[in-house]
Amino acid sequence: MVAALIAFACVFCAAFAPWVAPHNPFDLATLELSDARLPPAWMEGGNPAFLLGTEDQGRDILSALMYGARISLAVGLTSVALSVLIGVVLGLLAGFLGGWVDAFLMRLCDVMLSFPPILVALLIAGVGRALFPNSQDELAFGVLVLAITLTGWVQYARTVRGSTLVERNKEYVQAARVTGVPPLRIMRRHVLPNVMGPVLVLATIQVATAIIIEATLSFLGVGAPITAPSLGTLIRVGNDYLFSGEWWITVFPGAMLVLIALSVNLLGDWLRDALNPKLR
């Protein structure tokens, strides 16, 4: 329960970062390089203005955390939402229509699966950057989201296809068919809501995974822009300072990531219960 509270507080801060954060870490004009790498306020040399210390450009870690979590969450949630969308639609089609549509889509999944996610993300990110050189930040996010989306949808497609195959043969679907409801509407109104359970569970895990992939892409040099650091970027940057004793640059974002993963999981559990009519 306490964990849930802390976790949701984190997410809240992330969502409303511009209003709660003490500084704006994305506004380069406010950065003072001379404030760089200050330790947390309670340590020797800390500055009370920067509660959790600063990173290597003088950004306030606390504010950067909030803004970064916002980006990470945005990237995580959008990409997961998109992959859910793609995956669910394709999975439904494959499962419901069967035949060559199914065969084709499942081969496509095989192909996608044989690209490890990081690789696909790496490639897409590379391609995206090449296609939109000197892209604005938003575009960079677009590319990131796309990269993570394209790696993520396969799982949903497979899951949904599996459950669709089961649901399709349930009697309530047949009842709708007997009534003459067209297949697409059956899929949308009958099958879809009943296959979303596992999808949601998967999605909550995937949000965390998406954030990690984003961080890993940062590690490999194709992540979010460094002027608007995401959690992943912060961790990656902080990573360089682990040996030099400036642990706070990476530890706080890491903890934040764990907290987010935790809260998203809790959210998922709650959502699953909330969406289940039997528990209403």
Partner: protein, 318 residues
Amino acid sequence: MAQAVLVMVSVAFIAFMLFQYVGDPVVFLLGQDATPEQIRNLRADLGLDQPVVVQFWHFLVNAAQGEFGISLRQGAKVSRLIAERLPATVELAMVAAVLALLLGIPMGVYAALKRGTFVSQLLMTVSLLGVSLPTFLIGILLILVFAVNLGWFPSFGRGDVVQLGWWSSGLLTAKGWHHIVLPALTLAIFQLTLIMRLVRAEMLEVLRTDYIKFARARGLTNRAVHFGHALKNTLVPVMTITGLQLGGLIAFAIITETVFQWPGMGLLFIQAVTFADVPVMAAYLCLIALIFVVINLVVDLLYFAVDPRLRIERAGAH
């Protein structure tokens, strides 16, 4: 087989299309003082001035003969480069997989059997940590603690290797084992968590089935019920996922190999990406696809071995 080939060709094609955007290898092949003419010549020499489709065709023709062309960066046959690197990655992935299974399955079983106890809840929470920390961070932390501060394990490389034909094995020397511990652990952590959670979920599912209830009703010992009956049935679905994850293991090896300077294919690939070395990248991806296909095949066979329901029925049972 046909499907496998199809998958691989599409992988190669997609890869090839994408790589055109990854960068320009020529920039790195020549020193800073190279003249524009030199650059033009080199580009022509490498065939990089040809349309992508033509390049892909050449690649395919080569690939069909088991040749993946020539690394732009290293000027060596890609097949040789990969053959050199393959053993390191495979050994790493295998050790990691074994580690993940050996730790993940018992932990999952424990969490399922002792559901609700403090330890199992702790396991579940800590496991969340395993999936929500990036591999590279875990790797660096392990190095910091075990290599630098405690000095128990080396921080990079493979240690001594023994050549067995073209296969170089680090698993035959004490030093090799010493070196593989940290990277394998790093690589295993994510999978371990996944396997543990999966085993737990499946186990709970199986424990609810009628045949478990019936086994209990027959008065079998707890051990026989949990391990003889429940666990084996749990492993059937776990196998599929694990198979798929093994492919993921090799992918995640990219990061691990980077962090631990493990001379495997992932490192080769990352270096190739940095220098836009298209043939190496394409070959790597094809190989990953191949491994994936093979793993799938093996999993199917294993399925066959474990689950009698899938065996072809002979001698009419009905």
